[in-house]
């Protein structure tokens, strides 16, 4: 009985979740007229998209920014997380608290000072500026997650490696890092989705030639008339990489997200 209730509920939730995606796919293959009538299919939306937007280069821009930012986030969060979790030094608790408190600062509230800062060192209108902003925004959460994960690795394991002759640097590289792959996968997926989908930083810090796909799509709808099918087609293209990354890492993702929920 309860299984049926649960099953029905899950089906409803699944429909609610999947319908927008279906709507996106369905309407990506219509002309504006077909969209108004909600019948018939055509490829005109795609033609319009490619005619108005450098989709290929914007996808590459998105990828570059994402990969660079995530690389920085991973390097900082794994090393910092390990240090917070496993090394004892004066004031580590306070520093950790500072890092975690950065989690509570919303992007919108610091975007102007951020822009001013980057302008002062001449990094606006460049990949580097956007990458640094994304990395700075993603690192606190990633560090928190990695520290939590490393705390779950027994101290004795680290000490065994230290006695085995590794020193802390190599212990980190040889023992801690391979063991934290689930957490690394989690950070990667969450940050990828966040950065890939971000609009504000992309619009503010990147010149038109280096725009990400998300920012590009936003400009598509900025004209007086908006072609919904073209927008849908663009959204579909931009959604695919995120879905791909999610599918690749999903097994680890669950493991990483439920970490600390009992042994």
């Amino acid at each position: 009985m309860s299984t049926w209730v649960l099953f029905t509920l899950m089906v409803i939730v699944a429909i609610v979740m999947l319908y927008p995606f279906w709507y996106l796919v369905d309407n990506a293959f219509r002309s504006p007229g077909q969209f108004d009538r909600q019948s018939g299919h055509a490829l005109s939306g795609w033609k319009e998209l490619f005619a108005n937007l450098p989709v290929g280069s914007q996808l590459i821009n998105s990828t570059l920014v994402c990969v660079a930012a995530i690389a920085i986030i991973l390097v900082v969060s794994t090393t910092a997380g390990f240090a917070f979790a496993k090394l004892r030094y004066r004031g580590s608790g306070t520093v950790f608290l500072l890092v975690v408190s950065a989690l509570m600062v919303p992007l919108q509230s610091i975007i102007i000072p951020e822009y001013v800062n980057l302008a002062k060192i001449g990094l606006t209108n460049s990949y580097a500026g956007a990458v640094l902003v994304y990395a700075a925004l993603g690192t606190p959460f990633a560090t928190f997650l990695m520290a939590t994960y490393y705390r779950g690795i027994s101290d004795e394991l680290i000490e065994a490696a230290v006695i085995d002759g590794l020193g802390y640097e190599r212990t980190f590289l040889q023992i801690a890092l391979p063991l934290s792959l689930p957490a690394i996968a989690t950070v990667t997926v969450l940050q990828f989705i966040q950065i890939w989908d971000d609009l504000l930083v992309g619009l503010l810090f990147l010149p038109a030639s280096q725009r990400t796909i998300t920012a590009g799509l936003a400009t598509l709808s900025a004209g007086r008339t908006t072609s919904i099918p073209a927008l849908m087609a663009g959204s579909l293209i931009s959604a695919l990489p995120a879905i791909g990354v999610y599918l690749i890492f999903q097994r680890h993702l669950v493991k990483g997200l439920t970490l600390g929920m009992g042994k």
């Binding site: 004795e156 000490e159 065994a160 230290v162 002759g165």
Partner: protein, 386 residues
């Protein structure tokens, strides 16, 4: 081959707790020294200082006459076996054992040979390709041992290596560790809270309480001549019966009095404990091992001066022996600061021949082996001897 010396080593943590206080210990070449004590007594901290995992607050540690206080753990050339085994979960059994050799730039062929040898000794050959999670507790324990053996280190440090195993396996692995250590002849410090493990394994046993070394001696010496109340109560199972008593000069010798009971102290015992004379008329703590209390009915030429009568509260059958719990009719000894760990009993436990007919509810006539009495200073807790 090596010698480890701890010279008044003290460890104080930043929060002010003193885990180890001015510990002096020497572990001889090839010796297996067991550090034993209740949990939180500082024995693991002491071991971790030898390993280099904890800094020494004051005092010095020497490995082969070389001070190692400031030497990093990896340069101390010691191997450690942890309570949780601490096997690398992402590496196979082979790689776990070969791990440290790889980082010490040992030749590949030599690594293969050493791991194969260790696997043979520990009967791990069929499991070399497996991951630790695919092994049973006993096998993991063996891999942890193997990882220490292949290093051929100056010393093994073992931190409660058997406490995660079930009782039967623990006894088996205990014997294996003892044999292995003897055949390799590697200097070993072994930490445990289990006094049976300590007694059976140790060439010498160091009893620690509250960060202070209470006594370090060979197991038999520790059992026969405990230096103080703590060791007396800690070593032995069931523990030594300890009771507040008085020493009086009786007819021709000394008499020890507790509650309604009086025991004549034989001349030979007085000769062995000359300091007893100083306590005449004073208060002491009397110690009697359970096996030194016999059923008077089963003793051939029982000595009336050494018989006490105890109302029996409980009879416990253990098959090979029977434990009789008798009320002593007076308060048992409770020592001050370390009372948590000294079993203070309002009863005396006697370990008797299973043929004894003593039943619950009866009053037992108990013959005390007065040649094996222990006397302790009530103020200091030290054994009264010379």
């Amino acid at each position: 081959m090596s010698r480890i010396v701890l010279d008044s080593v003290t460890k104080q943590f930043p929060d002010g707790t003193t885990a180890v206080q001015s510990l002096d210990l020497e572990v001889g070449d090839g010796e297996l020294l067991v550090l034993v004590g209740p949990s939180g007594c500082g024995k693991t901290t002491a071991l971790r200082m030898v390993a280099g995992l904890e800094e020494v607050t004051s005092g010095s540690i020497y490995i082969d006459d070389r001070p190692v206080n400031d030497v990093e753990p990896r340069h101390r050339d010691i191997a450690m076996v942890f309570q949780s085994y601490a096997l690398y979960p992402h590496l196979s059994v082979y790689d776990n054992m070969a791990f440290s050799l790889k980082y010490r730039k040992v030749a590949k062929s030599e690594i293969r040979q050493r791991v194969a040898e260790a696997a043979r000794i520990l009967e791990l050959e069929p499991y070399l390709a497996r991951k630790p999670r695919q092994l049973s507790g006993g096998q993991r324990q063996r891999v942890a041992m193997g990882r220490a053996i292949v290093r051929q280190p100056r010393a093994f440090l073992m931190d409660e290596p058997l406490s995660n195993l079930d009782a039967k396996l623990r006894v088996q692995m205990r014997a294996e560790i003892a044999q292995l250590q003897r055949s390799l002849g590697t200097t070993t410090i072994y930490v445990t809270h289990d006094q049976t493990e300590a007694m059976t394994l140790g060439t010498r046993v160091a009893v620690i309480s509250g960060g202070v070394l209470k006594q370090a001696a060979a197991p038999q010496e520790l059992y026969r001549r405990p230096a103080n109340l703590f060791v007396a109560g800690f070593i032995g199972s069931p523990p030594m019966n300890l009771v507040d008593a008085a020493i009086e000069r009786g007819d021709g010798g000394l008499t020890v009095v507790f509650g309604p009971h009086r025991l004549g102290v034989p001349a030979a015992v007085i000769a062995e404990h000359p300091a007893l004379e100083r306590h005449i008329g004073g208060q002491i703590v009397l110690g009697v091992r359970p096996e030194n209390l016999h059923d008077a009915a089963l003793v051939h030429d029982s000595d009336p001066a050494a018989i006490i009568e105890l109302p029996v509260r409980l009879r416990e059958e253990l098959g090979s022996e029977v434990h009789i719990h008798g009320a002593i009719g007076t308060a048992a000894h409770v020592s001050g600061s370390e009372s948590d760990d000294v079993h203070s009993l309002a009863t005396m436990v006697a370990r008797m021949d299973p043929r004894t007919a003593i039943r619950e509810g009866q009053t037992a006539r108990v013959q005390v082996d007065t040649t094996a009495l222990h006397f302790f200073d009530r103020a200091t807790g030290e054994s009264i001897r010379r």
